[in-house]
Symmetry: C2
Subunit: 222 residues, 2 copies
């Protein structure tokens, strides 16, 4: 139980690498990390060396980076903290959908196990965060996640919105406008060939959403 202490930077890298790797399965490129963290590739190379030395990732020069078992464990704990804080901000402090992510990005680095476990209990052990993302438990166990988006449905099919991928403010504004939230039922009315946009039915209103938007809204088939 030797609890390694990582810097805020190291934690952010680890979380990003985990997210980019599809839960640890894929190799991650230096450039992709650079883009997601807004840090130059040269600096990413530096940090990759550092995390490799700590055995949190494996790295082959010029080939790519893979997160280690231990790295995954730590990444999941950071994600757990991030999502629990998001629940807290949303449910208890009345933050809006698009306001929680940025603050959680800071709170996730406060390092106290007691803090996060008591918060978990206080929130009654939530299974998902306000965007529908699953919250790992204390042991790092995490629920299955819906992989089908609105874009994958056929005409006539129905789905319940279960997860919102993108956390941009712009995207949330659009969802608010469309009155789409976790639990909303959608039905595919038409698929428009011309620009791959999709006509859907929400609460008996018909709207057209672009392909990108449709792909960013995961659903459970009904």
């Amino acid at each position: 139980m030797t609890n390694i202490v990582l810097s805020k930077s190291e934690e952010n890298y680890l979380k990003s690498i985990y997210n980019l790797s599809d839960s640890g399965s894929k190799l991650v490129t230096t450039n992709s990390i650079s883009k997601i963290l807004n840090i130059e590739p040269a600096s990413v190379s530096d940090m990759i060396k550092k995390l490799s030395k700590k055995n949190l990732i494996y790295h082959q020069k010029y080939k790519g980076t893979q997160i280690s078992k231990n790295g995954i464990k730590i990444a999941l704990q950071i994600i757990r903290k991030h999502r629990l804080w998001e629940v807290f901000l949303f449910e208890k402090l009345n933050f809006k959908w698009d306001e929680i992510h940025e603050v959680a990005e800071e709170l996730e680095h406060v390092s106290s196990n007691q803090l996060i476990d008591n918060l978990d209990k206080y929130l009654k052990y939530p299974k998902i965060d306000p965007h529908g993302d699953p919250i790992p438990n204390k042991l790092g166990e995490i629920d299955f996640v819906d992989k089908i988006s609105i874009y994958d449905l056929n005409i006539g099919q129905k789905g319940i919105v279960s997860r919102i991928i993108n956390e941009d403010e712009e995207f949330f504004n659009l969802l608010n406008k469309l009155k789409i939230e976790i639990g909303t039922e959608v039905k595919i009315i038409d698929k428009i060939e011309y620009d791959s946009s999709i006509e859907i039915l929400i609460n008996n209103r018909s709207v057209i959403i672009s392909k990108v938007v449709a792909e960013n809204i995961k659903i459970t088939k009904v």
Copy 2:
């Protein structure tokens, strides 16, 4: 309303300088800052230069440091955050008296005005933290604080415990053992000349506490 962004270090220095200065009235020595932050005097000198340049403190070489009006304003906001988080941890997350300070020391540096204002509202605008210290409001206004300790009472006088100065774990353990908390009534039975300790009555039990302990428990005269 140009909100200056300070580093965690700068914030900690500013808070310490404010605390050491008796709310801004006294000059603060480099050594005293060094001791309280556990940082070498040479490093403190460096930071003093930095904060001076930002006009948060005034400094005369070899003479001492005074916190500026602006510095006080910022220090009070950090203290506000610290104490509100302590209330949250104590009341909502069931932390013990002696566990809250360390975690609040980290949470106080999360920089979101919305976060702290919503937290304040959620906690129903508490006036004091779990140690009895007053919480500055959004404008930095702070209530009068009791300056009389148990040690200052005469034999036969009564007081209500209003504030606990020291935040050491050891000290809290002692208070728990003595069953002293905020609101407890104490009455001075005797003053023991030999070692300046004091015999007091708590809930009809008589105990003897040392001078140091008596000085660290502030009271309101009854």
